[in-house]
């Protein structure tokens, strides 16, 4: 086995979730031609486990509410800011809700972005990547239902 290129590309959480979810749907639509051949199924358990765990994890993050249109618009809007590719990726994955949360994502943020720009950026994120956090408060268990992130997908200006 040879590693030809370690980082051939970076994937956003949105891209990984989309990729794994599409494969999931395909499996349901095309049942195996020869019905589960015992040995094959067992050795693909690792694949099944890791896929389900990654999907579960990603669904609890902001990428679950993202669409390719949103991501495209977001990338275009970021062009006017002094932000690196890696930082843009983190903004997309983490989706900071405030200047305090924005702070760790951009190196030397106060040297590169003015207070106004930082506020603009947070506002931009709110506007272009709408997301409602699932309610995790144990006290509300059984009462409040988590806000459905998909409902907000079409609510962008």
């Amino acid at each position: 086995m040879e590693v030809l290129e370690l980082r051939a590309a970076h994937l956003s959480n949105f891209e990984v979730l989309t990729f794994l979810s599409e494969l999931d749907v395909q499996k349901l639509e095309e049942p195996p031609a020869f019905g589960g051949i015992g040995d094959s199924d067992k050795s693909l358990m690792d694949l099944h486990t890791i896929e389900q765990e990654v999907i579960k994890y990603l669904k609890s993050t902001p990428c679950v509410a993202q669409s390719s249109t949103q991501v495209q618009q977001f990338k275009e809007a970021l062009q006017r800011y002094d932000i690196t590719k890696a930082e843009k990726l983190m903004l997309l994955n983490i989706r900071p809700r405030s200047i305090a949360e924005l702070n760790p994502l951009i190196e030397d943020i106060d040297d590169r972005l003015s207070q106004d720009q930082q506020e603009d950026l947070v506002g931009l994120i709110q506007q272009l990547l709408p997301y409602e956090e699932p309610l995790l408060d144990a006290a509300d268990e059984g009462e409040a239902t988590p806000a459905d992130p998909m409902d907000t997908e079409n609510a962008t200006a």
Partner: protein
């Protein structure tokens, strides 16, 4: 946190799978071999993204009749970069090791005491780390969502081993040391609003 790694490997297909379309059987064999496993100095393999090239098959007539091909492919790999910010959940607290974090599909993440927020102490009664900030006691309870920065990654060559299995092996083949020692990091509830 996810990358595409370009790899090349020799893949054997057993005659029982010869009726499968070629790309599908090669993909299955690659996934069987790599999914949910740590590749030393590469990261945690999730699954095959695509196959770019596969050489002509060589058939091993005198063994089991399986065919072998050299395959060039891209794999989805979990490999955060240094300095990357990620989220997870608090898994457990330990007085000397610090706070262990889980990301559902990956668990070998530790925040050593030196990388907790300044003013953090281990509470012997509650058995939990606490950030004492301006007269507030902020407990780092289990299952709380937490945001951290990747600082140090460690690969240990333990031979072929599955991530998550073989609990007796104390050494994790791939582990991350992370930090929450700056404004904006730590429990998400600390920075709300």
């Amino acid at each position: 946190m996810f990358i595409l790694t370009l790899l090349r490997d020799n893949i054997r297909t057993h005659p029982s799978d010869f009726s499968k379309p070629r790309i599908e059987s090669l993909t299955d064999e690659l996934n069987k071999k790599y999914s949910n496993k740590i590749l030393h100095n590469v990261g945690l393999c999730i699954r095959v993204w695509d196959i770019l090239e596969a050489s002509d098959e060589i058939v091993h007539m005198v063994q089991d009749g399986s065919s072998q091909a050299k395959v060039t492919f891209r794999m989805v790999v979990f490999r955060p970069f240094k300095g990357e910010i990620m989220t997870g959940k608090v898994a457990s607290s330990h007085p000397t090791e610090g706070v262990r974090v889980t990301m559902d599909f990956f668990d070998d993440i530790i925040i050593p005491p030196s990388f907790l927020q300044a003013g953090s102490e281990y509470d012997e009664e509650e058995k939990v780390w606490v950030w004492k900030y301006e007269e507030n006691d902020l407990y780092m309870d289990k299952d709380e969502p937490i945001r951290f920065r990747m600082e140090i990654e460690e690969f240990v060559d333990v031979g072929p081993v599955r991530d998550g299995v073989d609990e007796e092996k104390k050494v994790a083949p791939y582990s991350l040391v992370v930090s929450v020692a700056e404004p904006g990091l730590g429990l998400l509830s600390w920075w709300e609003g």
